[in-house]
Symmetry: C4
């Protein structure tokens, strides 16, 4: 039964997984429609009943899935305490919680139910087998030191800039405390720029401009790091496949014969 | 007649296509001027008449073009039910619709007429034959799995973040429903940052900052994917042209002779 | 005299050019300080006189420079009707214009004087001789077809999206005419996101989200194009320098001897 | 003692440095919590005392560290007048300054204390030994001419665009002086887009759109420059390691034996 339903190496297992992901997707769409309609129109009692019925249906389905998984897994503990075990449990709870404590705010329950989108990741998990992702992943792994250094540096720049602006602009201009100032620096350096907090004084605008220009200059660096590592990874793959006869490399990934001596190349 | 006017392999066909694109461009410019002047100044009756005359002229021209295409095409059905057939038909209709149902709102008709910009794509279609686009296209095709995975993952992150913020900030702070929250997440992760909906509470700003930093970190990934695949594609082109005499590759695309033995290279 | 002052191949010519650029820089800084102080503090008559004297000084300097250039150039017409001839003439005029027509608005004169920043480009012109720029320029030239196609496509997407939003949101929500809608689309697709005009209805937000996601997806393409062409250009340079003895390429740009046979390599 | 505590080549030195960095991190977190709580809730006297005690503790710790460094350094002057000497001194001062001049604004002291984040850079300094950063650094050094030219050009474009918009929109629309206009141009070209100052007139919006499109087009250039130089740097590293036996290069960085002849490769 485990192999039939949950082993992603079998075809039926992959299909069942896709089905679970599909139901998660449908449940998320239902939550969004309910939330959207609920705030814009006055729904009649019958219309509410439809959404309630849908929600009960999805909760029962997910509960069933959870029980099945716990029963079928060779080691149920391993599943229950895994990432997916927590996610699966957490996303079937909102309705039960609402039954037990009906005084809980409705928007918390909505938010909770929207978390089911994480379940949709199951569909992506099925696609993980595509070999192309390996290159990207290897590039990120190789670049991890550079990326960690870069992002730590940027975080410190944000904290320093936030502190500076708190001193320059201060609470009257919206920089109410250090946390808010750093929130402003995050929004600014990443070029999001909401505009809910902006510098109003001359020196503040000058510091903000300098911070923006620093952010603008460094935005090229992570892209450069990841791209260069990916290109390097492609080059490595190219060099790794050598002709068994003449020992020359640099063959395209779709090449089947050595371009120098014509012998058959090993498969990737 | 089909070869004369619509076959883009003949010179006259390309010219006619360019002429159609040019008229589309002129009609779009006319619509924009009319819309701009109409809201900023009070136009006299004569000035309006000029724009009405222009509009009738363009509609007649496009109608004529449509009839010509239907008549000349070897298989008219194939044209009528093609993408361009729909676009051509849709963009000659606004005036006829306005005649039949004059009570339709004027801004819908303006929006409809602006859709003629799609027709201008015909001019771009003429440039499609440039061989350089092949590399870009091939890179996107090769990278499609990675890109689909990436954008799906980002979409799920947006939905989850939208749900979270709906729970944390809630309707009083502008996150009126789940759809609005996800709209906010889209605007935030992509670094657009309108600022029409922003977090106001401490925890909300913290979650928003984390979401922004995630968005900032991953923005480098699609660029890396496309660039690495394009560089790889260039490398492949380089390797694909081998000297017929000494079988060495890695020649520049503008090289005409082998750099090792001097024999003539095959053309690209 | 021409060779002494304006021929950038001589050392004195480059120094004179740098001096002119430096004065332009100083004049721009003076204009900014004057404009900043003028709006924030009440300047005394004496302080104004200082700025007026500075302005007269710079105008006389630039006039002198202009006369010198016209006199020294082998063919004065060629200078006067060149790009730099126009810029030089235009940026000495504001004070003379203010003398002739004192009723002209002061902010137009300020804006005019700020244009002197273009003169600072002269300093950059001196740096143009750096050979490294050649690679970037060659990459942009090679990529021009792809870039033109890409930006034309994006412009048409902006016009179509602007038209759509004008129909969906309409004048009451800030989309006052088609031009404003396209301005909104430009601000949105490029991820600037001012937030002065934003969608307020559900369908408007949905279309805006899709437009934002399209903009987010395509932003990687121009970077990919330029980077891949630059990498290709570096590879070409690498391959172009062959060892005169063993005809092997792929030497680093700083290598002076062939890594295979040790013979001296030709200079770049 | 110097070798024991501050020589980063010894293990104990690196540990002490990490400890100092950790305390700096803790002190920054304490400042943020104090600032956040102070503005949102009314703290009791006891709670304030806790933060005051923490602050005194950190100040004493940092003072001790500073004295230790001055005493242990072989040449104390070299430390005191180095970058880190200034930072270390500056970040222990706020409490002493507050004791001497209690009338100083509390938000200046908060801002000052937040500057301790710079001390956290010490932790990053420990990671500097990672060899991978060398590639990035070398790429930036090689690309410096191109980057300087690019950013100078962008700055001049910003000044010119700011001047133009000051003339077109003027003080009534928020462009109060030339400095503010350039601040707007910086915010716009870098795609931050706060929206605190936006064009309101038709021509202003047109110029803004053109400026935005210029900014959008050139954002790809620095990324392209850095990426191409990094890829080039990787290629160089690849080529630099030649097999001592057959003199062939292009080995992967993790390869230990020549792929052509099987001899051991020199270490990186």
């Amino acid at each position: 039964m485990y192999h039939l339903l949950f082993d992603q190496k079998t075809r039926s297992g992959r299909r069942f997984e896709a089905l679970c992901g599909l139901f998660a997707l449908l449940s998320v769409i239902a939550v969004f429609i309910e939330s959207g309609l609920g705030t814009q129109y006055h729904l009649t009692y019958d219309e509410w009943q439809l959404f309630v019925a849908l929600e009960i249906g999805f909760t029962l389905l997910f509960t069933l899935e959870y029980i099945l998984r716990v029963l079928c897994w060779p080691d149920p503990r391993k599943y229950v305490f895994s990432f997916w075990g927590f996610i699966d449990l957490a996303t079937i709870l909102p309705l039960y919680v609402l039954w037990l404590w009906p005084e809980i705010g409705v928007n918390y329950v909505f938010a909770w139910r929207a978390m089911r989108a994480i379940r949709v990741l199951r569909i992506l998990k099925l696609l993980r087998y595509m070999p192309t992702l390996h290159t990207l992943w290897q590039a990120i792994v190789n670049a991890r030191h550079q990326l960690i250094l870069f992002y730590s540096f940027i975080l410190i720049v944000m904290v320093v800039a936030g502190g500076l602006m708190y001193g320059i602009e201060g609470p009257p201009n919206g920089f109410t405390n250090l946390g808010t100032s750093v929130y402003w620096a995050v929004v600014t350096v990443t070029t999001v720029g909401y505009g809910d907090i902006t510098p109003h004084t001359g020196p503040g605008r000058m510091v903000a401009s300098i911070l923006i220009l620093i952010g603008y200059s460094v935005i090229a660096i992570p892209t450069g790091i990841i791209t260069a590592h990916m290109t390097n990874e492609f080059q490595k793959q190219r060099n790794a496949r050598l002709c068994p006869n003449c020992h020359k490399g640099n063959h395209d990934e779709e090449a089947r014969f050595c371009k120098s001596c014509g012998s058959a190349l090993p498969k990737l």
